[in-house]
């Protein structure tokens, strides 16, 4: 046992408190007046198992009828458009008055340094945890 754990145990042992007879009587009286709840029984299904088969079959039949009706209808003639949609869009041109900053190299270096620091910190933390527990 290490020094800190030993000290914590010793200091906890110096905290003196016990359940008094008065509190004990109070707790016992409270317990006598209540009953533990019983676990709720699983709810029984009101519908017979055949109901689920019947409803599933009805659903499937309705879906087949709907598909058949939709496929039997004649397709509407497509209205030809005079102009493609893409051409109708007007994209405003913006003239940027800025120079390209060359920041890629220092940022990459910074990113690598940060990753390296993070990895070191993670390893230190893992070692500490393994050592303790």
């Amino acid at each position: 046992m290490d020094k800190l754990a030993k000290r914590l145990r010793e200091d906890a042992a110096h905290i003196e408190c016990a359940v008094s007879d008065e509190l004990d009587d109070r707790i016992r009286a409270s317990l006598e007046n209540i009953k533990p709840q019983q676990p709720a029984e699983p709810r029984r299904s009101a519908r017979p198992p055949a109901f689920w088969w019947a409803s599933s079959l009805t659903g499937v039949a309705a879906a087949i009828v709907l598909i058949a009706v939709l496929n039997l209808q004649e397709p509407e003639p497509a209205i030809p458009t005079t102009e493609p949609v893409a051409q109708q869009l007007v994209i405003p041109s913006i003239e940027w008055q800025a120079e390209t900053a060359v920041l890629v190299s220092p940022l990459e270096q910074e990113f690598e340094d940060l990753q390296s620091d993070l990895k070191k910190a993670e390893e230190a933390l893992r070692e500490d945890i393994e050592r303790l527990f």
Binding site: H14, C17, L23, R26, I27
Partner: protein
Amino acid sequence: MIEAARKGSAAAFAELVGTYRDGLLRFLLTRSASFADAEDALQDTLINAYRYLHSYDAQWRFSTWLYRIAINNAAKLKTADTVELGELADEENDPLSHCIRHQDRQNLWLSARRRLSDEVYTAMWLRYVEDMSINDIAAVLERSLSWTKVNLMRGRKTLEVELDNLATDVKSKAYG
């Protein structure tokens, strides 16, 4: 005993929790603003445990389940006039100070309450006083295993520094 208590035997339940009562009261005392609050929290904890005994899952230790309920009850009792753990610095009104047997040195749990957050303090207490496993502590606090490990380690580091500071104070007092 658990089965007898589940069927409604208050006596069986009282016997079942008999070994945990003093420990629970001591634990609740460290989190309460007064001794009466700690006693009320203990009573509520045991009543709730008895009432909802059917929900106890035997895969956990019984004490783990009890401490979970105790923490919930202590939190419920935190009314407007109840202060946070870290603010219980006034030793005159602190129930924990009154229950500490005379020591030549400062009790580290009093310092811990000032230095650690509520949850970390609880984790440290469960680990070093109640001897709970990391799994059980995580279950009591409803936290992940990694959270529990990391925060126990943080708590330890904080208290190690505090322990060093206390040792320095003692030395400086001794040498005038």
